[in-house]
């Protein structure tokens, strides 16, 4: 089986995010594999364990992303490819990234491409579906179960808390949702082996792309953190007094009833 994973390096959203003049301060931030992409990598490894084959992890970014690619290799992927954005001066958006990915996939043979449901940094969830459209293959998003038998896939999807059961044919692109699996930690031997696995870097020339064709279709106007929450209000007195006060606050102050 030819298994591909598209993944993104993101900053660890459990860390404190600081924004200066609309730009996220990356100084001192820890970077990780986008957590949803970790489900994709894990599922790829599970597929390989069941069906054999090869796993290739692909990311669009700069050389810093090699670290996350190595982690994917340490988890169990066989090879990694970095689509280098170094030649791009302007803004990079989901359009740019999916164009680069689709150029990469033009001459590839793939049975399945796995990605994360969304990236936790911008939460757009655009790249993988765009890629499937460009490649004109089936796509299923937010999957929570995947079984492959020959050319067909049995899939469960999370649809706003409900489950949808779908059968689809390969080649197929899926995006992975929490609940699909428990990503493994890279083992120490895995980390040592990853050093020797192939990691290839491709630039725009290698992909036969021109900077002008990749110009972002969107522009970020501003970024800001959500306003700090005010301290809550504590109601006092007997329960029935508290209920009365709550009712009056909901009516008069919050004006919701």
């Amino acid at each position: 089986m030819n298994i591909y994973v598209v993944m993104k390096r993101t900053f660890d959203t459990e860390e404190k995010v600081e924004i200066n003049d609309g730009i996220i301060d990356e100084e001192g931030a820890e970077f990780v594999i986008n957590p949803y992409d970790e489900y994709a990598i894990e599922e790829a490894i599970v597929l390989k364990e069941a069906h054999g084959g090869e796993i290739t992890v692909v990311t669009v970014g700069n050389e810093d992303a090699e670290k996350e690619l190595r982690t994917a290799l340490a988890m169990g992927a066989d090879q990694a490819v970095l689509l280098d954005t170094e030649d791009l001066d302007g803004e990079i958006d989901h359009y740019t990234i999916s164009e680069m990915l689709s150029a990469f996939f033009q001459d590839k043979e793939y049975d399945i491409i796995l990605g994360g449901n969304v990236a936790v940094d911008d939460g757009a969830g655009q790249v993988a579906p765009r890629l499937a459209e460009k490649l004109e293959i089936n796509q299923l998003t937010t999957i929570t179960k995947l079984d492959i038998d020959g050319e067909s896939a049995y899939i469960e999807r999370d649809v706003e808390g409900d489950v949808e059961i779908v059968e689809a044919n390969l080649p197929l692109l899926v995006t992975c949702q929490q609940g699909l699996n428990e990503p493994r930690y890279p083992s120490l031997p895995g980390i040592m082996k990853a050093k020797k696995k192939p990691l290839e870097t491709l630039d725009l020339d290698d992909l036969d792309l021109d900077e002008d064709d990749l110009e972002a279709k969107t522009r970020t106007v501003d970024r800001f953190l959500p306003p700090e929450k005010d301290a809550g209000k504590r109601l006092e007195g007997e329960p029935h007094e508290q209920v009365q006060e709550l009712m009056s606050l909901l009516k008069n102050e919050a004006k919701v009833i």
Binding site: R70, T71, Y185, P186, S187, L188, P189, I191, M192, K195
Partner: protein, 382 residues
Amino acid sequence: MNYNISEENEQMRMMVKNFVENEVEPYAQEIEEEDDIPQHLVDQAKELGLFGLSIPEEYGGIGLDTVGKCIVYEQLGRTHNGYVSLIGAHTGIGTTGLVRLASERLKQKYLPDLAAGKKIGCFALSEPGAGSDATNLGTTAEKKGDKWIVNGTKHFITNAPIADVFTVFALTDKEKGAKGGITAFVIEKDFPGVTVGKPDKKMGLKGSHTSQVVFEDCEVPEENVIGEVGMGYVSALTILGEGRVGLAARSVGSSKKLIDLSMEYAEERKQFGKPISKQQAIQWMLADMETETEAAKTMTYRAAWLIDQGEKAIKESSMAKLFATETYNNVADKAVQIHGGMGYMAEYPAERFYRDARITKIYEGTNEIQRLIISKEMLKGS
């Protein structure tokens, strides 16, 4: 001068950090209360290769260099110390003798299972009459045909209750004593004449068990001598020497964790209308904790680096052990102080670290013995 760590060491750091934080830390309280480490946490450590971190690749481990080991131990030090003690006694003193000094035959026989964690290792030197004076052994080994007959009692042996493979030191020549009269052996728990005692009741390090081990006419095959007959004391010193930076690294990790816990608490706890972190008295404690810990960290990694350059670094390793473990105790004391009464309560981890810190100044050579080693190295030529 280069303070960067290699890419794979950074990956290991991240992996162990995440593993400890997400998988082990949630069980810290349970380990403490039950005095037992859940089996699945031990199994996970095996799957991640942690039991083989000091065993060379050709025997199924990954053979990390000293800096690499310290990086792993530092992160393991961030959680319940019983956990790192179980793993550390195995990967450190419990297997170093076999890795460094044993014959190819013994290595082939024991190391693959030890690397996979299928077998657990331990190190049995101390005896009721031989602590700091480790040469004063009462355990003897007598040659009979192609076997050695071992008799004696070891105590305080970490992992003994779960160990399969013991590195044991015994007197083979009373006259010669430390100078050619002590020999190291590999003894399996199933050899006839081995009895492991009940786990000791102790102040801390819950979940990591120590006990007595009694050898009664225990028959040990001739080929189970580690290194040369009579060279056991040198072997013991080599093994303990290598362990020292590891213990220092663990202590640095625990200190760092205590600093994190203290900062968190100081920012949350309000007295006199503001967080206690706004009080200079608290700020200065934090500053001292951080400064000492960074100093300990630098000493630890420098000693580790020197060892990786092929140096013995006896003085540097001892200094790192001495300073890092004293630092850990100082930091734990301040952490409890910052937590106030809560620092004395078992529901806050500072209380546990405070107790667990204490042993680091005693085992793998007391800190008095470290000072002895350091000054001896200093005064060598004089």
